[in-house]
Symmetry: none
Subunit: 402 residues, 2 copies
């Protein structure tokens, strides 16, 4: 459906677009709550925006399908989420702000413990602390040598988790995980799923063999399990596609990772949404597109804490006047998926969307919530259709045909 | 767009899904009735479900297209109705509960009368009674011999109608009907539309030549007209696709036929909807998916009898408490198409859908009818999107991506 049409229509102007993603925004009635978190939260500022804008509902992937945060955000950024279900290795790398190249195959690492016969006794190496992880990574960087011109990068994530990147010519990432998912058996060998991935499989196996030797004296982290192998295929950036210089104001690695993959600049991690709004204000002149991410709405939903999710929504509502005071041409507020407290998990329910802009058609909405969105002027859209809509409201798309 | 994604996400659990299809449910205002049959019927039980569930509208095929019952039901079962517009021969065979194999080409038979010059005088052989049909079929089974290893099966349907199945190697079903649609001319020869169908054409023509000889003494049914040739291509079953053991509670051959083609088990024909509900209750532990079919809503619409269609809807409404008492995780109520009494025929109007489940988002619907569905929380969906939605509400789909 896209096929580059939007890209052909894009024109540049000085308008500003702010996309505020309240993670897991959509909800569900729950126990004594006869409505969703968003319906029952007191949101005078969001409701005022709804009265002055247009509402609708987003389907992240397809009807009935619950999305993870990765594809959920790719959709919001205008990328087909079905073509961007990338390996976790690449997403981890992006989240760690590791600069992947197209010569790289990335994998997620779990440090693990094996016994003297080579059988796994702990798939997470007793959840070693981050300092131990750093020390062990340093040992491997010193001792493991790959044949030239191949290189590896090993980056500590947290506790027992790390990122391993293999770089060099003729690598492909169609490789099976080495984690057998159970203890009492040895790790699996890295297995190529096709001929073009054989080179990478051999190099990863070589790495693992040397690593096991190098870590033999470690009491806990004496082996690595590799998962989520993925070759990096760079995406065309938001700048390339839409001529938008983009700033990511997100504090969690996953969302920063996806933002990086679509070419956004990443603002440093801050401590609160208020500080994200501060950063928005400070940088408002330097970019045209701002992605602001709120995690609390999802985290409270996953905790099954309806009242806390309402509160998280109300907290965002309180900051809205500071955002609108900057007078962006377009302010869009939505979620990457629903996370109803009732389900304590992501869900398939469509996600409320509000577009506030002087070019948005008044649609009679009195409030911003699931019910007003279900009859709103924007109708039902796939998440990937939102970006063209925001560009349109920002008058950044020229006419198609004469 | 689907490409097996749903199948990849399917997980098994013990939840029960009941799909109640009120055939031809959607309606239209008519003469003094200022609303549809469903709007004006008294349906306190369905309305209560709407208040506790989500409503929407289904488009069976595409905007403006009126569907037949076959594709209408394939869509509801999650199959693309445009890829399942199978030959009537195959549908007839399924409706007769004839076990087709992938070596079979099926055709619908009309017994006809020809005069001594071979011209058709009656395309329905004076609508011979079923007993005559059975007698004539037996003559053909005795006298017609096909070259080995080919076999044929001839099954009496009703009155002048029967099913002819040709079985053997290298058969294809791209064949033109032999019914010229007018009298006073001879039947057409079976003509192959392509090279791979030539073998089947020759065998059917051989069959017809022998049949004409064998039936020469019959006063009425002295010839056969063949229509709707179709090779059987088995569909992946609902169990294979969605891990659902399915029971069909339908009393008419067409619906039983489609159910059989998608791998449902068929409960014996019963005499009333009340008995279908009895069967649902008796078998509730043995299956995960139940398809209940109500014919009266369509038949009354086709008769142009608005009041009778209202009554048929009210009769179903009265049985709803017996279904909800079984506590299925998901109860979906919809139709395969609209059959407005005003049109006395199937129509293109979208079809009301109600999903009742604790995981359905309250959408403010006060009643179950076209008007509440048009602003309901489920929005506008294609019929083929319904099954993923029901699976989602039954928590039978895992998350897509991380």
């Amino acid at each position: 459906m896209y096929d580059g049409l939007i890209e052909q229509l894009v024109i540049e102007n000085t308008s500003k677009i702010v996309l505020l993603v309240m993670d897991g925004l959509g909800g569900l009635q729950f126990e004594n709550y006869q409505g969703t978190e968003l319906e029952l939260a007191k949101t005078p500022n969001l409701d005022a925006l709804a009265q002055a804008g247009s509402c609708g509902l987003l389907t992240p992937i397809m009807t009935g399908v619950t999305t993870g945060s990765g594809p959920g955000h790719f959709g919001l950024f205008g990328y087909d989420p079905l073509n961007t279900n990338i390996g976790r290795g690449v997403l981890s790398a992006a989240g760690l702000e590791f600069d992947l190249t197209d010569k790289d195959v990335a994998a997620r690492v779990n440090f693990a413990t094996i016994d003297t016969s080579g059988n796994i006794t702990d798939r997470r190496a007793g959840r070693i602390d981050t300092a131990t992880n750093q020390r062990v990574c340093e040992i491997l960087r010193q001792k493991v040598k790959l044949p030239k011109p191949y290189k590896f990068f090993l980056v500590t994530e947290k506790e027992h988790r790390a990122l391993l990147v293999l770089r060099g010519p003729n690598l492909a990432g169609d490789l099976d995980d080495t984690d057998p998912q159970i203890t009492g058996v040895p790790p699996l060998a890295v297995k190529a799923q096709n001929v073009k991935s054989k080179k990478a499989a051999a190099l990863f196996n070589d790495f693992l063999k040397q690593a096991r030797k190098a870590l033999a004296a470690e009491p806990q982290a004496n082996m690595l399990l590799l998962r989520g192998f993925a070759k990096h295929h760079p995406y065309p950036s938001l700048f390339k596609r839409y001529k938008l210089r983009c700033l990511c104001l997100a504090n969690y690695p996953m969302y920063r990772g996806v933002s990086k993959l679509v070419g956004m600049e990443l603002y440093p991690v801050v401590k609160s949404f208020a500080e994200q709004v501060d950063a928005l204000k400070e940088n408002f002149d330097k970019y045209e597109f701002f992605f602001m991410h709120v995690k609390a709405t999802d985290a409270t939903g996953e905790d099954g804490d309806f009242a806390a999710k309402m509160k998280a929504i109300e907290d965002v509502d309180g900051m809205i006047p500071r955002i609108t005071a900057l007078k962006p041409e377009v302010l869009a507020i939505t979620g990457d998926h629903s996370t109803p407290s009732a389900l304590r998990a992501h869900s398939w329910h469509p996600v409320p969307l509000l577009v506030w802009s002087k070019n948005a058609r008044y649609d009679g909405s009195r409030a911003f919530n699931e019910k007003s969105c279900q009859t709103g002027g924007l109708g039902r859209l796939y998440s990937k259709e939102m970006m063209p809509l925001l560009l349109a409201h920002a008058l950044r798309l020229k006419k198609f045909g004469a």
